[in-house]
């Protein structure tokens, strides 16, 4: 297509901003606007102006006046980044009755005047950028935002402290909540802890009232022992499929009296709640304060399920609440918003061979220690060695196990310093043992945390700055026999030390849930390389995700302590309450659409959408994009071999024309003028 036969069908106005001297100091804005009006008239430019501050109300009025008087159909503003003022200029156009999407803001500040020093080159680049913008804006289409209603109910996945907090906030505001928890009881990791830092409140004492509130709340539907299987729909209108595992307990009849687990003959190592340090029965509630109070039968270990006989629980149940024939249930709930608060897994300390966990009996993990120290735990709160009776006389606490280590996890687990200090206190208080803390750095940045550190120093805990190299039972020197030897460089002294202790506690780090990637896929959100879910903005929007209507709270977003988890749970709830009150939501109209005529049903695009927005109609053999699910990334548009998918707002015509426009002015005036370019 050559230039002369292309009659400009649009009337374009070009506005070049000085931004004080921010742009005008480097780019010759006068020359640029003159160039645009002289050279781009074939493209449809009817007016080009430059102005001191286009974003000022006077600048906006200038544009509005031209739209009306010059009958502009398209507007190009050359100023700052669209991330700053795209909305401003779109609104200005809207004010002059021009569809806001017919305005294009091109950046000649962040991408030009601020990053270049050569004024001629910067001016030429500004011309090219504007030329690209003009070529592109011609192909813009008037668009309208999509409005969708919002279902008032909320799904919260994960019944730890973050999920509990969020559930209570929303339910208290009068809206329905579905709280899904994989374990038989809500409570999460916090229910396992002994004391909480830095105040040393009993963890269960502050958590259980909240759990009870959740259990009793009329607006909260608890779905424990359940997992989300599938999420369909989009913001405001999710349909969530949940698998409710069979408890083999008729909850309507069960009183939670506990006779069943008393009578159950099968003892199982409880590697969940008791961190492998205690036992439970095959029918059990994870802990006495469990909410709901009903037990579950663990069908992997239950003698009846394994061997076909026993049924002791059924025989003794006073209310006939045992039902061995129960099946898993699949149910679907409709919700408008979702909070993911699935928490974290403990780093497997067995992966660090030099620390000997799993090989050396008296090496414990932090979670084991929590149970050891917990008065409701397997030892009744006695801190003892693996033999179950000996009180340690010296204890080494190792920081950063599996954290801040490229061999395992590169990140800081955030809670271990404070947790280790807490352990030091508990050991000191309960046993009087000598306590060593082996650390790389002590990180105590939150309120009252450093004061706690001071307190622990004062109590006499010994601090050794050095990452522990190995923990061994191979004695080398007198005094080491029968002990665990912690070998470390005391980096402040610059010497290797071998410190014999009776017990070692490994502060193993926090990891994303083992199935976090699968979960992210289910909900159409993204994980960082580590596996933590990615927030919409790390500073300004830490609770939303890139998927509209899906929020994150607690450790699922990254390691954090209890106060931070509570804050995030409440924040996510507040965000959702705001949305629910609005009753509907406007979505950006940047979307993909499939031309069914042209679609051959090849199904190339079907796997490409992480938001499951592309449906394949088997009957008609065509694919279709659900506009409310589509996030507008354009991957399918680029991939469609038939060219049948169009991308609103970022169409092929727009981008190809922009390329032409950007190359219109060839800075170095090469000999061969490319054949496909319109001649200048």
């Amino acid at each position: 297509m050559s230039a002369e036969e292309k009659k400009p069908k649009e009337r374009v106005g070009v506005y070049v901003c000085h931004c004080g001297t921010n742009i005008a100091g480097v780019v010759n804005v006068g020359e640029v606007s003159k160039w645009a009006s002289d050279n781009l008239s074939d493209e449809g430019v009817v007016v080009a102006r430059d102005y001191k501050f286009m974003c000022s109300s006077l600048g906006q009025e200038l544009i509005q006046k031209d739209i009306k008087e010059q009958k502009l159909t398209r507007v190009v503003v050359a100023a700052c980044s669209p991330h700053l003022h795209e909305k401003t200029f779109r609104n200005a156009c809207k004010g002059a009755d021009l569809n806001p999407y017919l305005c294009e803001l091109v950046s000649i500040r962040e991408q030009d005047s601020w990053v270049h020093t050569d004024k001629i080159a910067a001016t030429e680049k500004a011309k090219a950028i504007i030329s690209g913008g003009v070529a592109r804006v011609i192909h813009h289409e008037p668009l309208e935002p999509l409005h969708v209603p919002i279902h008032p109910a909320t799904l919260i996945v994960g019944g730890g402290i973050a999920g509990i907090q969020a559930a209570l906030e929303i339910a208290d505001a009068g809206f329905p909540v579905y709280l899904v928890e994989r374990e038989p009881s809500i409570g999460g990791h916090m229910a396992q802890f002994d004391k909480t830092f830095p105040t040393l409140d009993c963890s269960a004492c502050i958590l259980t009232p909240k759990m009870v509130d959740v259990g009793n709340h009329k607006n909260i539907t608890m779905l424990t022992y359940s997992e989300v299987q599938k999420v369909d729909g989009y913001v405001g209108n999710f349909a969530v499929t949940i698998k409710k595992r069979a408890r083999y307990i008729k909850t309507e009849d069960c009183t939670g009296c506990g006779i069943c687990w008393e009578k159950c003959p099968k003892k199982v190592i409880d590697d969940h709640f008791e961190a492998g340090l205690g036992y439970r029965k095959a029918v059990y509630t994870p802990f006495p304060q469990a909410v709901p109070k009903y037990p579950v039968i663990d069908d992997i270990n239950c003698t009846y399920f394994v061997k076909g006989t026993c049924k002791a629980c059924e025989k003794f149940c006073p209310t006939n609440a045992i039902d061995f024939n129960q099946k898993d249930e699949i149910l679907t709930v409709e919700v408008g918003n979702i909070i993911l608060a699935t928490g974290w897994d403990l780093f497997d300390a067995r992966r660090v061979p030099n620390y000997g966990y799993g090989r050396l009996a008296n090496v414990f993990t932090n979670m084991e220690f929590e149970r050891l120290s917990n008065s409701a735990g397997p030892t009744g709160g006695n801190i003892v060695l693996r033999d179950g009776k000996t009180t340690p006389k010296s204890v080494g606490i190792v920081h950063c196990v599996g954290s801040r280590d490229k061999n395992y996890n590169n990140y800081c687990s955030a809670i271990c310093c404070m947790q280790s200090l807490k352990f030091a206190h508990l050991v000191h208080e309960k046993t009087g043992a000598t306590v060593y803390n082996f650390y790389i750095d002590i990180r105590t940045p939150a309120k009252a945390y450093d004061e706690f550190y001071q307190r622990i120093i004062e109590e006499g805990t010994l601090f050794v700055r050095g990452k522990v190299a190995e923990i061994t039972d191979a004695a080398r020197n007198p005094g080491e026999e029968g002990k665990l030897i912690v070998q470390v460089e005391d980096t402040l002294v610059g010497k290797q030390r071998r410190i014999p202790v009776d017990m070692v506690i490994l502060s193993a780090g926090l990891e994303p849930r083992y199935d976090s990637k699968a979960l992210a896929k289910t909900f159409g959100i993204s994980c960082s390389a580590d596996g933590w879910f990615i927030e919409r903005h790390p500073k300004l929007d830490p609770v939303a995700t890139m998927t509209e209507g899906v929020y994150i709270a607690g450790c699922v977003q990254g390691p954090k302590d209890i106060p931070a988890s509570v804050v995030q749970g409440a924040a996510a709830a507040a965000r959702i309450l705001g949305k629910i009150q609005q009753k509907e939501i406007a979505l950006e109209p940047v979307r993909a659409t499939i031309n069914e005529e042209q679609c051959s049903g090849c199904r190339i695009c079907n796997t490409l959408c992480p938001f499951n927005a592309i449906l394949f109609h088997e009957d008609r053999m065509v694919s279709e994009v659900n506009p409310a699910l589509c996030q507008g990334c354009g991957t399918c548009v680029a991939a469609c071999p038939a060219g049948a998918i169009a991308g609103t707002g970022f169409s092929n015509e727009q981008i190809l024309s922009q390329i032409d426009g950007l190359l219109l002015l060839n800075l170095n005036k090469k000999e061969a003028v490319p054949a496909v370019l319109p001649q200048v």
Binding site: N354, E470, E489, T491, K495
Partner: protein
């Protein structure tokens, strides 16, 4: 101890003299692959892991801090790299995945070049070993040990006699140098070129 540690300056906490800020980069560039040395967080895993730390004048971690501080002379004089037994504990345990053992090799190379230090027992052993290899293409343990121990541990020779006899009789080791490899010329050419390339 093999030899007294040579410390040129009297122990002092005074300011670092002649900070050579290119030092760290030089060590990194001279080590094959990407040793990642600039990433050291001074955690001490290396020093804690080192089986021969007791023979070192500085722990590896301290050496890395000294490299950063540009203390060229002190590092070159340190016996630390020479005491490295290449057990690679530090390398696999290092949370920053620094190729510590390889860095130790580089430091040995540099200390020999600098001529201010190095451990003469260790470097002599390496040199003796290599001169045999450069002449025969293969190493020659008995000859090497004999030659080396006569030079450095003459007073200990009596205690070694039973072992030496055992080596020759029980192990059947030959007291004569090994047969030269066929491609000795080729090997010499390769090493000559390699030395030229090393100098670049």
């Amino acid at each position: 101890m093999t030899e007294p540690v040579i410390v040129s300056d009297p122990p002092s906490a005074g300011p670092v003299k002649h900070e050579d800020l290119k030092l760290l980069q030089e060590v990194i560039l001279r080590t094959p692959g990407d040793p990642g040395l600039e990433m050291c967080i001074q955690c001490g895993t290396c020093g804690g892991s080192c089986p021969s730390a007791s023979a070192m004048d500085h722990t590896p971690r301290a050496i890395f801090a000294m490299l950063r501080a540009g203390m060229r002379e002190d590092v070159m004089k340190s016996n630390t790299p020479w005491m490295c037994v290449s057990c690679y504990y530090c390398t696999v345990r290092c949370p920053q995945e620094i190729h510590i053992t390889d860095v130790m090799y580089t430091l040995k190379n540099m200390s020999l070049e600098s001529k201010v230090g190095g451990n003469s027992t260790a470097s002599d052993f390496s040199k003796t070993f290599i001169s045999l290899v450069e002449n025969y293409g293969r190493s020659f343990e008995i000859g090497l040990a004999g030659f080396h121990n006569v030079k450095h541990f003459i007073t200990r020779l009596p205690s070694m006699t039973p072992m030496a006899i055992g080596m020759l009789t029980k192990k059947g080791m030959s007291p004569f140098p090994p047969k030269r490899i066929k491609g000795m010329d080729q090997l010499k050419k390769i090493l000559k070129r390699a030395k030229e390339l090393e100098a670049v």
